[in-house]
Symmetry: C2
Subunit: 208 residues, 2 copies
DNA sequence: CTAACCATGTAAAACGTTACATGATTGC
DNA sequence: GCAATCATGTAACGTTTTACATGGTTAG
């Protein structure tokens, strides 16, 4: 059985990486229990780029085991459920490599903040400013968290960390670079609304 | 009936904006049919920040209509199904404003490329380079597409456009700024692997 | 002649998150 | 005492994507 990893459909079209592939990657990166894998996607190196929760991880791990893409040794523990320590197999590493070599789906950003800001005209000015403050602060905080990563990772992981840090900083700077224009435009629009209707009477009277 | 828009759960925790809110936003922005709304999320101003497909849009539109958050006038057409032209109502605008004022879930980036690059050590160098080329090119192309947006949009939409353009350019620059380090590290690792085993024989012989 | 565009809508399938169930240990 | 951490796993739930159904017009 040729252990399929459907990150590409039957036609070869780009499909998102599936949870099995993501787990295989986490395993290769040295996260070797379901619990640790979740942390890798919640707080660890993959945090910015992918997400995965228990509900996907444990079934995926069992599937990988059944397909021979991962192996598992159980460690009996006191009080807690037995710890299952997984390792990627050679077949698993081959499958991971194959999945990463297919056409990858391009990045997708989901930003409720940016969507909200599109409707700045419906919000009060102080709400818009607060939104921008929170948003920029969020990215700065993220950048700092991501920068404080484990020392001396392999080359690929180093790239992830550096990109995450600098990319988040860049986005924050971008917000700050454009907010002045937004806030000024909003003020202008408000002034235009609040202004008493322009003295058309004169024009009308003069034109008659 | 107080037309709920569940972008916040019962406890007030941050939840992603739901499809009804997104449709309300599209309606407010002047996209007034299901078909046009899809284009707004596929190619239009929201393209970078949210996604929404027919399967979500048409049911959402019908729900909004039933709740009085949108109104609809049908335009009979030749051959095609009747065109339903929607408009946001005052209640709808209030609901949109309310949804955007709740706690918003922070941005989530999904990047299969970045995940793949984390495993550069499993790929051939030319594959890694091709990946980086495609990735940077993708962001540059996106930036250019986003920059070529409709003229003179309202202030909030102007912000979206400018952020999209500059943000994508910044990310592309970031890729290019860090790729040299990655590729060099990969070369170093390969050289270390390819190097003939160090002359331990001498040491062993000398020590005997 | 083929592809893309216009236009709405439904149904099924795939996928993911959340909450639940369980429960000892460690730090504040 | 309370919260967090460790640790696995399932079931319900909701969302999203994809395919299907229909079909005339227009541009290359």
């Amino acid at each position: 059985m040729p252990s399929r990893l459907p990150s590409s459909g039957p036609d070869g079209a780009a499909m998102p990486l599936d949870s099995k592939t993501l787990c295989l990657g986490a395993l290769d990166a040295g996260f070797n229990t379901g619990y640790d894998i979740r942390k890798a996607f919640e707080e660890g190196p993959f945090r910015l780029y992918q997400s995965l929760s228990y509900g996907s991880i444990y079934p995926a791990l069992n599937a990988l085991l059944a397909e021979g893409l991962a192996s598992c040794t159980e460690q009996v523990q006191d009080g807690r459920p037995d710890k299952k320590v997984y390792a990627i197999t050679d077949a698993g590493r081959a499958a991971l490599r194959a999945a990463l070599t297919r056409y990858l789906k391009f990045d997708r950003l989901r930003s409720d903040f940016m969507f909200a800001i599109a409707f700045a005209h419906l919000l009060r000015h102080d709400q818009v400013s607060a939104l921008l403050d929170d948003y920029a602060a969020g990215y700065r905080a993220l950048a700092d968290e991501l920068g404080a990563e484990s020392c001396d990772p392999p080359a690929g992981r180093r790239f992830l960390i550096d990109m995450g840090r600098d990319g988040c900083h860049a986005w924050a700077r971008c917000i700050e670079a454009h907010r002045a224009a937004l806030e000024e435009a909003l003020r202008r629009d408000q002034d235009a609304d609040a202004e008493p209707p322009p003295p058309r009477l004169a024009a009308i009277g003069g034109g008659g």
